[in-house]
């Protein structure tokens, strides 16, 4: 914690109001790293145990969404998909988006849902949103496997296979995933600080996430966005992430290095300011419960 550093020996704790915005107690986080992994484990186990279908839900949800999109946007509205099978196109878009949305959903209420815990015992609060980001990787991995199933089916068993051109860009996927984690953590930290102060915002969160999804090229390709508006895409980090995923798997899409750089820059700024705001809030959050 910025205001509680561990000095000299690990057993001197100084408690004082925080005067330094930029001090982050990495040592404290390090000391509690076991807690991070235990919380991740708890998330796995409890998710698995509480529902009948267990991890199957991670597959069913995006699958249903992709089917709905295929019917509404593909068949009825006939929004183009860069010449790709609509189902595959949507599943690919949802891959990184679902990870982003579930992370955001949980981290944005970190304070509210953990008030009972935070009110009783001290540990670096950042551990909680961090553990969420990590444990959601499980869902991502399951979805990735499902996606790859569809991917190989469409590539090798349908006529649309020729338009699917995987390329070297695929090796950047881990980095893109890291960026997705960073941006969802950054926005989540911001929102968790805001929802701690303004409880009504949590009801707005779902709506905002929905809106954000439509501002991200999931159901449409960037190529459909008129040229003069395309610069806006650069300011939505998720847009370039989603489009890059598509480019990596299909070889179609609009990926520009400039936009990627801007999106990375925005991601870093969001994450850093998010951490600062979060730390600001954690210091006295419990007084307002």
């Amino acid at each position: 914690m910025s205001n509680k550093n561990v000095e000299q020996n690990s057993y001197e704790i100084i408690i004082q109001p925080n005067r330094n915005w930029f001090h982050i107690d990495w040592q404290g986080l390090l000391h509690y790293r076991d807690l991070l992994f235990l919380l991740v484990r708890r998330d796995f186990v409890s998710k698995y145990k509480q529902t009948i279908l267990g991890p199957a839900w991670f597959v069913i949800q995006p699958l249903l969404m992709a089917i709905v999109f295929t019917v509404i946007f593909g068949k009825v509205a006939r929004i183009p998909t860069d010449g790709l099978p609509p189902m595959l196109f949507y599943l690919c878009g949802l891959l990184s988006w679902r990870y982003f949305a579930t992370c955001l959903n949980t981290t944005s209420v970190s304070f509210i849902t953990n008030a009972h815990l935070f009110g009783k015992v001290y540990f670096p609060r950042l551990i909680v949103p961090l553990s969420t980001i990590i444990s959601n990787l499980l869902a991502f991995a399951i979805q990735l496997v499902m996606f790859l199933g569809f991917y190989f089916y469409f590539k090798y068993f349908t006529s649309a296979g020729v338009s699917i051109k995987p390329n070297l860009f695929i090796f950047t996927l881990p980095l893109l995933l890291l960026q997705t984690a960073a941006i969802s953590l950054g926005v989540g930290l911001w929102m968790s600080a805001l929802t701690a102060k303004y409880r009504d915002l949590q009801f707005l969160m779902n709506f905002l996430a929905q809106l954000w999804m439509y501002a991200t090229p999931i159901i449409y390709p960037i190529s459909m966005v008129p040229g003069k508006w395309r610069f806006l895409i650069a300011f939505n980090p998720m847009a370039s992430i989603v489009e890059s995923f598509k480019y990596a798997f299909f070889g179609t899409g609009t990926v520009s290095p400039n936009y990627l750089l801007i999106s990375i820059f925005i991601t870093i700024i969001t994450l850093l300011t998010g951490i600062l705001v979060f730390k600001r809030t954690e210091r006295t959050f419990i007084d307002t419960v």
Binding site: P17, L35, L38, K49, K120, T284
Partner: protein, 436 residues
Amino acid sequence: MKPIIEVENISKLYHLGLIGATTLHDSLDRWWYKMRGKEDALKKIGAKHLMIEPNDPQAGPEPNTIWALKDISFSVKQGEIIGIIGKNGAGKSTLLKILTRITDPTSGRAIMRGRVASLLEVGTGFHPELTGRENIYLNGAILGMRKLEIDRKFDEIVDFSGVEKFIDTPVKRYSSGMYVRLAFAIAAHLEPEILLVDEVLAVGDAEFQKKCLGKMKNVASAGRTVLFVSHNMGAIQQLCPRTILIADGHIMLDDNSENVVSIYLSRGREQKSGVRDYEGVTAPGDDYVRLKAIRIMNELEHVATMFKINESISIEIEFTVLQQISNFHTYIRVFTQEGILAFGSGDWDDDNVEISRLLPGRYLTRCVISGNLLNRGSYSLTVMGQIPHARYVFVENNVLGWKILELDGAGGAISMNRPGVFRPKLKWKFTQIKDQ
């Protein structure tokens, strides 16, 4: 050797009311007032939820702020056991929350030279779906233990808890006793250098509390340091050589326990007189209403502080209306000596008089607490003047008190030891049913 705990000028400011955690609407409201540059902006908003008198000794720099702690300094040597006492709301729990890093102080600093644990954390973070084994690790980590450390103590913890058979069962299937035992076993194996105990907050049955006290003694005898917050003067005197008395957010006394406890107790007694008069502009109130006097009277219309159990108690509140005011009411709250709110009552219960607009002049409201209602014991009185749903004009906390005594002999031995805040005389009928 440096003291193990050093507290220097710790202060904590709280914002009262809804300001703090709030709705967007409230914030916009405040912002809107500020934007229009109205002079009375903050005051007006503050008044909306006014809960503390500006001339209260604990009042903070802004309306609706209160110093829960102000310039607290003390130091503790390793191995000391220190009691912390004070009335409810004096700031004891806030102090513990700061020392456990749950909340930050507003100013000042504290240095803790050792690992801190507090017994109010028992069972925190238990997840019902996880097994006992998994919860030991999770809970231990939340309390600050490293995984290796838990590995090392695991068998000991399980032994101590006595739930070996169920260690791989989800804790949701545990009985509440097993649950608490396991939770306590983890906390007990933390081996902190500094143990903080808040008896008021420690949940659990008598047996569990006894266990907590036992643990405290052990910890202390092992040369560790304990801060013990309690209302139980007996336990304080028995366990702690030194005690700190906190009143209104200040350290009032820091001395050997015998002195502090006896002063604390006598102070409580002194306060209880039967009448309180207020003079001039220092009287609680505002430009509309000022409090004049509060009296506790017996059936003979004499000021009194001792009552028999069957006697009625009259509370009179006298106030002056300076400017015409609407919908002003007086309200009382009666607390037991343990600080439990027995009841509250307001003058709007008077259904004969319908005064909604008060013209300048002097007024008296009077409440009669009938005999055979409150149990024997000491009571303290809080008096408020308010415009319901709008604001408090004055709040006089614990301003007066009285004591209710047993009837001399008349009730007989049977009536002597009835528990509870109230001891109403109810209608009973004792009859023999005759067979036809």
